[in-house]
Structure formats: structure tokens, C-alpha cells
């Protein structure tokens, strides 16, 4: 899949409490969660996003809680994919499991500024900064992780039911 949008740049160690503070976890409604995405460090973030926009962040993005509400809030807010230097482990699997593409590339993060137009090809791992013309590559997903993403998430991958895997 190819995604194109403006880059929103965040620093290292963006935690799940910042992505979606616990005080908003008394709902499972993705729309409501999306409205409060990044609210404590970037008021009004969700209103500024245009569908397709891309989050670019430092290392350990998504550290902290296992709340799947975090990638759900990001995806529902209109963010098409996240490029970071590294991801916290549970956030990484949650994003894969709900079908939010995430890519790791320190070079891309260093080479993208806030507001740059960025194009990401999740099949090849190519990340292009359209504004500067630079091209970076992230490692492609291994093994059945790729199959899960292509299926649009873990439960689709599982066959939408009790299929044995």
C-alpha cells in the first residue's frame, strides 16, 4: 500500500498516556478516542490532521500501557502510518493487529521535518520525502506479520472466526 501525507513530528519516548490519556479510556468509541489523541502535548492535534497524514517520531514510540486505544486513536484520527526510530513492543504488535502500518527507520526520521510531504510504500519499505526529494528505506515486515497487515489485522488474518492457525 502507498500512503501520502504531511508529516507530524514527535520526539523520543512518546508514551501511550500522551497518545490517549487514561481519563478518556472510559469509552471504546474510536471517534471519541481520536478526538483526544495527543491532547496533553499537542492541543487540537486531531482537528489539524488531514486524512493520510503521517506521524514521524523518535525512539520507543508508544511506550507504556497495552491500551489498544492508542493505535486506534491514531488510526481513527486519520493518520495513515507511523514512521519512528523504534516502537515500544506492545504498541508495535497492537498497531499490526489492528492494521495500522508502522515502519522503523532512524534515517527517515532524521531526514523529515514537520510539514514535509511524505510518501510511504509499506510493501517495499520505501519512505520518500517529497519535499526534499530524499528516499529512505525501512526494513520490510518479517514472515506472517506482513500477512497480518495485508489482511487488515489479526482477526481478518485468522479468517474472521474460529479458524485454526
Amino acid at each position: 500500500m502507498i500512503y501520502k501525507g504531511r508529516a507530524w513530528v514527535f520526539p523520543d519516548n512518546i508514551d501511550t498516556d500522551v497518545i490517549i490519556p487514561a481519563r478518556f479510556l472510559n469509552t471504546t468509541d474510536p471517534r471519541e478516542l481520536a478526538e483526544h489523541c495527543m491532547e496533553d502535548i499537542f492541543p487540537g492535534f486531531s482537528k489539524k490532521i488531514q486524512p493520510g497524514d503521517i506521524i514521524v517520531a523518535g525512539k520507543n514510540f508508544g511506550c507504556g500501557s497495552s491500551r489498544e486505544h492508542a493505535p486506534i486513536a491514531i488510526k481513527e484520527a486519520g493518520i495513515s502510518c507511523v514512521v519512528a526510530k523504534s516502537f515500544a513492543r506492545i504498541f508495535y504488535r497492537n498497531a499490526i493487529n489492528i492494521g495500522l502500518p508502522i515502519l522503523e527507520s532512524s534515517e527517515a526520521v532524521e531526514g523529515i521535518r514537520a510539514g514535509d510531504e511524505v510518501m510511504v510504500d509499506t510493501d517495499t519499505g520505501e519512505i520518500k520525502n517529497i519535499t526534499s526529494g530524499e528516499i529512505f528505506y525501512a526494513k520490510p515486515f518479517p514472515g506472517f506479520i506482513n500477512d497480518i497487515i495485508k489482511a487488515g489485522g489479526l482477526l481478518n488474518f485468522a479468517g474472521g472466526g474460529q479458524k485454526n492457525v
Partner: protein
Amino acid sequence: MGMTITQKILAEHAGKNFVEPGELIMAGVDLVLANDITGPVAIKEFEKAGGKEVFDKEKIALIPDHFTPNKDIKSAELSKALRDFARKYDITHYYEVGRMGIEHALLPEKGLVGPGDLVIGADSHTCTYGALGAFSTGVGSTDIAFAMMTGKCWFKVPESMKFIYRGKPSPFVTGKDFILFTIKDIGVDGALYRAMEFSGEALKYLTVDERLTITNMAIEAGAKNGIMEPDDVTLNYVKDRAKKTYKVYKSDDDAQYCDVREYDVSKLEPQVALPHLPENSVNISEVGDITVDQVVIGSCTNGRIEDMRMAAKVIKGNKVHPYVRMIVIPATQEVYLQMIREGLMEIFVEAGAVVSTPTCGPCLGGHMGILAKGERAVSTTNRNFVGRMGHPESEIYLTNPAVAAASAVKGKIAHPMEVIKNDI
């Protein structure tokens, strides 16, 4: 080539003789855990995917602990979704308010996890059970939905880091200080995608409650799991509780580690993690004058009976500082009852603290102790992220229960020796 305890448990549950770091496996799980925040999301996914039955009603634990007793109508709806699902599928291990506890304190206490188990939970602190020699790890709600249907979960086999603790810790230096010091050493992503294996003779000085504190915070260094090989202390703890058979695994002598670190804990001081990351730990002697508005003793990190005993020992005969709110939260009903039996409740209440029913409440800024703008808390919990306990401009300092209790008395961060009025 040998395997670590983590590799061995994963291999066994994947039906393999050997697994290597980096390998992707599908493994069977012994227990699947979710709470009132993550459970409802899993239930929605379960139903959306057409789930009609659970793989094993004995191997699922659903525990309302985060926003319970319910703080508002929305959270009551979440708890109801969890409760209705538990009743519909006749889930054995559903624990209602009044019989419940904070999940990671409750499951070991009830003997629902033991050595050699593979446990997943939709809560990042599921790594706690590694103290009993289990492989346990936090996952998301979709993983839980999938596991409730299939009894399985996908894993990437982690590399292991080994931490060896030597020496005998001083009084008031606890498992919490071991792990805060370790996180300071390696950083909040120092164990990313890895297993943290804790070992060394110093562990024998620690109670199981303290060991559970160490593995609880493995996630704060980014680890997939924290784990300890079971010893006599572990087996004594599990033998009277275990509801099922268990199997003790140990790492092979020639197991591979990507990093090995040794620490001498005999000179370790109580640690204080400054805002806003758990890696920001300093020795208590270096903290300086930090005044405090609120003290919280509790959570899945430090809400067990040994924590309560330690805090009570420090607070006994003292009074909470007039400008401080001290909130004590036993992690389970059993801890609560034991506190009554031992007279700890009386000690806390006489000192001017409030004692709450079990809940995760303030730890995640849910309820029962939210901070206002500019306020500062000393807390025995596991995270001090921006806004974690309330206002984004509030501050959290993480400590062990003895330091937290002493800080409540002095109105500023203090060493327990400054206030103790009892023999130690």
C-alpha cells in the same frame, strides 16, 4: 546450543524442541487476562469476528480493577460489558468488586499463575508473573480476542539480557530500588523487544512480593518479559496456592545472552525516579528538598501485604504532614483483610491516611487521587509519565513504600530513617 528459561517456556508452548531469538511462533497460552478497560475492546473484536465460544472458560481471567468501583456512568457500562461477557460464557475467573483485586496482585495470590506458565494479558504489567518463573507478557485487546477464540497468540522469541544482583541490601532498600536502579542503568528502551532475566544471590533476601515488583517494572525498560528462575522461596509461595500443576524451568549453562550486567546492591540507596520517566532515578541522598502534596501507596507494583507492612512500620507513631494527602490502597481483598488482622489499618488511619478499597485508580489518573495543576506526588506505582496521575503539569516521583510513607510524614521526599520510631 542451550536455551534461556524464556526460550524454553516459549518452545514448550509452541510444540517445539528449540526456538531461537527472532523466530516468530504461534504458541498456546495457559491464561488470558483482560480488565475493565481492555476487556470491552477485546469483547467487541471477539463479537465482530463472529466468536461464538471461548477456547477454555477456565483459562480466561476477567478482572474489573481500573475504573472500579465504577467512577462514572461510562465506566459502569464498560464493567457491565465485562460482567455480561463473563456470565454469557461462564468464565470461571471473573472477580466482582468486593472479591477482586488489582489483576497482577490477584492472579499470583489466587494461585492462577505458576512456574512454567505462558500468560498473556491486555495490560502492560502482565510481565509481573515472571517472578514466579512464568513467561508472561502484555499484549493488546485484539490479541486477547484472538486468544479467547483460539487459545493461541503470536510471539517473536526475544533475546535475553541477564541481570545479576550481588551483595546484601541495606534496610529500606527493596526490590523496587533494584528495578529503578536497573532501569536508570539501561534506559526506558534499554530492553526493547528483549527478555530481562533477573538472578544473583541478592534475590534471596527479597520476598516474593518484592520480586513481583521487579518483574512488574520490566516493561518500563521496554522488555517483553521479566523472569526469574524459581527457587525455594518461589516454590514455598506457590505450593499452597497453586490451583494446577506447574513446571520449573531453568536456563541452560550455555544459554545465550545479548547482554549481562552485574550490580552490587550492598551499597544501593533507596531510589527516587524523578519526573517524567522511570529511568530518571537518583539516590535518595541526592534528591534535595522536594515538597509533596500527595502520597500514594498501592498499585500492581507495590500494593501487596509486604508493602503495607513496610509502610506501616515507617508511619507507626507518626502523623501524616498537615499539607499532605496520603492514600493507601491494598491491592486485593486478601491484603485488605490481612491489614485489618495485623492492625495495619489502625496504624494508617491513626496517622491520618485514607485507606481505599482495591483499585488501580490513581496510578493511571483514573480516579481516587487525581492531581491538580502543579501538584506533586510521591507514589509507589510504576509510571511517572506526563499527566499520568492527573493534570499534565503535575509531577510524580516513584519510590518504594518506606520512602513514600516517610515522605508523607515529612511533607517532602525523605529517607525512612528520618522518621522511623520502631525497631527495624
